[in-house]
């Protein structure tokens, strides 16, 4: 066999070997891709299966919330009037009046009355009562003010000028003797009502 033929055979063998090596490596990589895609398809299938009931449930929740908004807005406007309703909403959520009420588009054009300032004292009282409630123990504004053991005294401090708990000062004992300010004349008062009652503490002070 001539030398040129041997060289040609070697060249062809080299080409075939190169093709085999690279094709085997490529087949291995494609097998890994197939396994990964199987995993991905399984995960996507689970996602589709789990998310299937989401749409109708969320639609139902939204429908209920829409009904609630319609109910509360309608009741608020019916009882307070549109202007005061806008003022109340703006007082609770400053700036919310700009968005108006959903079912009352004309609410956007109303200048909200400053109801929050009128009811500041009452609002603070309610807020304080709210913080004293046991349910406010987990309030993000801090621990509740209420002391369960002395809850009534804590509530009483809300009304410092309210009901008097005891007399501020009791009448003093009468001064007796010949130089006492109130003289007792037995000739006149024995057996009858006293002419003059002893002075009370408020009269003395």
């Amino acid at each position: 066999m001539p030398a040129a033929g041997i060289v040609m055979i070697i060249a062809v063998v080299l080409i075939v070997v190169a093709i085999v090596v690279y094709l085997v490596a490529t087949i291995a990589a494609l097998r890994q891709i197939t396994a990964g895609l199987d995993d991905a398809i399984a995960g996507v299938g689970e996602i589709i299966e789990k998310s299937a009931p989401v749409a109708p449930v969320v639609a139902d929740i939204n429908a209920n919330l829409d009904a609630g908004v319609d109910l509360l807005e309608g009741l608020l406007v019916k009882k307070a009037g549109l202007t005061d309703a806008v003022g109340l909403v703006d007082g609770l959520y400053p700036g919310a009046a700009a968005a108006g009420l959903r079912n009352f588009p004309e609410a956007k054009t109303i200048k909200p009355p400053r109801i929050a300032e009128v009811y500041t004292r009452g609002t603070l009282t309610l807020a304080r009562l709210g913080r004293e409630a046991p349910i406010a123990a987990a309030s993000p504004n801090g621990p509740a003010l209420r002391n369960p053991a002395y809850g009534s005294s804590a509530a009483r401090t809300l009304y410092p000028d309210g009901r008097e708990q005891h007399a501020r000062a009791l009448p003093r004992s009468p001064v007796i003797g010949s130089d006492s300010p109130v003289q007792y004349d037995p000739a006149e008062e024995v057996g009858g009502p006293r002419r003059r009652m002893p002075a009370t503490s408020s009269e003395r002070s």
Partner: protein
């Protein structure tokens, strides 16, 4: 004879490098897809795990219904108790 030698040179100098270059390109492209596919598979599994809380929506749906029903009851009572605003 000269033609055979010329064919050998073409095989060794041109055909073999071209075949190796092309096969290497295919192999590198296939190998580059593997990590991407693995990332997609991990993301799909994580997304599926995130959706495990979806059944809680049924509880939310139930609670929302009850809350709105309670609000409707209160609203009905308030509608009876409170006077309407003037002009309403």
């Amino acid at each position: 004879m000269i033609l055979e030698w010329i064919g050998d040179v073409i095989l060794l100098v041109i055909i073999l490098p071209v075949v190796v270059y092309l096969l290497n390109g295919v192999f590198r492209a296939a190998n580059g897809i593997v990590p991407s596919v693995n990332r997609i598979a991990r993301a799909a599994r994580a997304g599926s795990a995130d959706l495990d809380a979806v059944p809680l929506l049924l509880t939310t749906q139930d609670q929302v219904g009850k809350t709105i029903a309670a609000a409707a009851d209160y609203g009905g009572s308030l509608d009876v108790i409170l006077d309407d605003a003037e002009g309403a």
